[in-house]
Symmetry: C2
């Protein structure tokens, strides 16, 4: 039993080839119109024969794939939140009859080698959603421009074609909250990937979060206190931060620590716990991102939840808008608002 083709269906249904094509995947611009009766007849025949259209063959003529790539500009991404982006992208795609194709970063020996992964070397996608957690996305951006492939960004801020979060206000709200709850010394903690990494080279959210934090501190008449630690590119759950990073050696314990993200917040909280400093009684700790891990833990973290599912969903819809209006190249970016989720790591 070879493969069942449209030809077999036509024979079985007793109609023409073109009729089958139109019955199964109608095109309003087609010169050939099929009636409901024919459609039914064709469907029945197709079902009986177990016909499944060959996606590749379709794409050859139409040059449409109904595939959208999901590119993660980060190593080892899928093992950690927020994977809500992917879920949103996937649901939106499925609803519109598109498939999501995973495109991973290629990396050898901890270095990004081929910036454009080999999977993109084949023509197989109608568009690409880039989920950025990394300054690297800037490099990719240029490389992709030449490929004539519409690109949409999720969790990255660009002039157009992106879904991003208003982290300035997010950080401001979090800092305000900590101050309101009684903190007068609030440290903003973040990690760097290397000794001399500049804020400008980091993800856009770094600058926004710092600015939001500073603004809130200034408005309250408090002094901003930003502390950084140099760590590897990813923060493994067993990777330790030096115990004396935040205090010790003369430094005082602040009332609250606002960490750049939940990973860092959890790591800091672990240090405190080891030192028998009680959370939230002795110190308040807040994170950012609203990672699943922070929310469902038996001792949930106070965090700013990013609407990652909605952002992924919106990003895919942006991508489809561009694909389907074949003239248009750009759509305005969409701003999302984060939401304060109060856990048990603050009072």
């Amino acid at each position: 039993m070879g493969r069942v083709t449209i030809k077999d269906v036509a024979k079985q249904a007793g109609v023409s080839l073109g009729a089958v094509s139109q019955a199964l995947s109608p095109n309003p611009n087609s010169t050939i119109k099929v009636g409901d009766a024919t459609v039914m007849k064709v469907r029945k025949a197709a079902d009986k024969l177990g016909f499944r259209p060959h996606a590749g063959a379709k794409s050859v003529r139409s040059n449409k794939f109904h595939n959208v790539g999901f590119f993660v500009a980060k190593k080892g991404v899928l093992d950690r939140p927020p994977e809500g982006y992917l879920m949103g992208v996937s649901d939106a795609a499925q609803k519109r009859g598109y498939r999501i194709v995973l495109v991973g970063m290629e990396n050898g020996q901890g270095q990004y080698q081929n910036v454009v992964p080999s999977l993109l070397r084949e023509k197989n996608l109608d568009a690409l959603v880039v989920a950025s957690h990394h300054h690297l996305s800037a490099v990719i951006h240029d490389e992709l421009e030449n490929m004539n492939l519409p690109v949409v960004y999720v969790n990255d801020k660009h002039e157009s074609n992106s879904a991003w979060v208003d982290d300035y206000n997010g950080a401001r709200m979090m800092t305000d909250y900590l101050i309101e709850r009684g903190a007068s010394s609030v440290v903003f903690a973040m990690r760097l990937h290397s000794d001399n990494q500049k804020i400008e080279d980091m993800h856009y959210s770094a600058e926004m979060r710092i600015d939001g934090y500073k603004a809130a501190m200034q408005a309250a008449g408090l002094e901003a206190d930003i502390r950084t630690v140099v760590m590897g590119e990813t923060l493994e759950f067993n990777q330790r931060i030096p115990d004396d990073w935040l205090f010790g050696g003369g430094k005082e314990l602040p009332d609250a620590i606002f960490a750049y993200d939940d990973d860092l917040a959890n790591s800091i909280a672990k240090i405190m716990y080891r030192k028998n400093i009680r959370i939230p009684e002795d110190i308040a700790i807040a994170g950012y991102n609203g990672a699943y891990a922070s929310l469902c833990a038996w001792r949930p973290l106070t965090t700013m939840r990013i609407p990652s599912y909605e952002m992924g969903y919106a990003a895919l819809e942006l991508a489809l808008k561009i694909i389907e209006d074949s003239g248009r190249k750009e759509c305005p970016s969409i701003k999302f608002r984060p939401e304060l989720v109060i856990g048990e790591s603050t009072r």
Copy 2:
């Protein structure tokens, strides 16, 4: 500037069409052989023109897609661990030049409507990896059989073509550990999706974990105590379990609770915390799965870690074995061992 095809490359390189085809994607069985010099020349021309082969066109002749589907037989999966399966699958695929295509469950109004999602109705995949967390996979199994699509299971136990975990020994080890650490009353807690759900209708791991737990209790001369609670299909992080489920109304607080999975363990721990029962001083709580959330939390959970990345990786390799040995239909299933990860929810 239309699309750059193999024809343009041939012209640019000054060689024949067939030569380009062979130079760029060599086939040992081809009658036409190209030398290294030609290959170089062709590659250079292709690079210069920005040539990207059309995946669809390739697939028409060869009937190979270099796509493997990843099917999640569960609603809203990608938002929660263990997503390590997907990462393993994705890495293994990338290494071998395959793409991962996400195939979601279609569900309307909380009911599974079309068991085989529409994305599978097109011929587009060489194989499918089914990640099962659900008895539903049995239904899918039958439906897929007719499709002539090799199917491999991850986190499900079948005679062949599956990567599964030895949960019997996992549960046994966990129970032994709890007993060793001083517990004499250990409750095994699990949830049911409906009032009259039978263990046999659940995921294979339910029975294995129960049996492992029972065996350990019996070996220690203790009485098994299994308690179930009826909940929705998914356990949201804000979904509450009745506070009096495990104790109250005459029931005594056990020394330890071994929960079917980390989600449930976290929920139980939250109840305890609300009731001012100290963990681990007053009661020990253990989970299962080794979800990222459990491991990276600032108060990590004691859990059995499933090697989900490795399982996903292995499952994909099984799939490729079947794809590439076009004769073979089955490979022996692979058993994985879970690993005890001691957190701070037990002594």
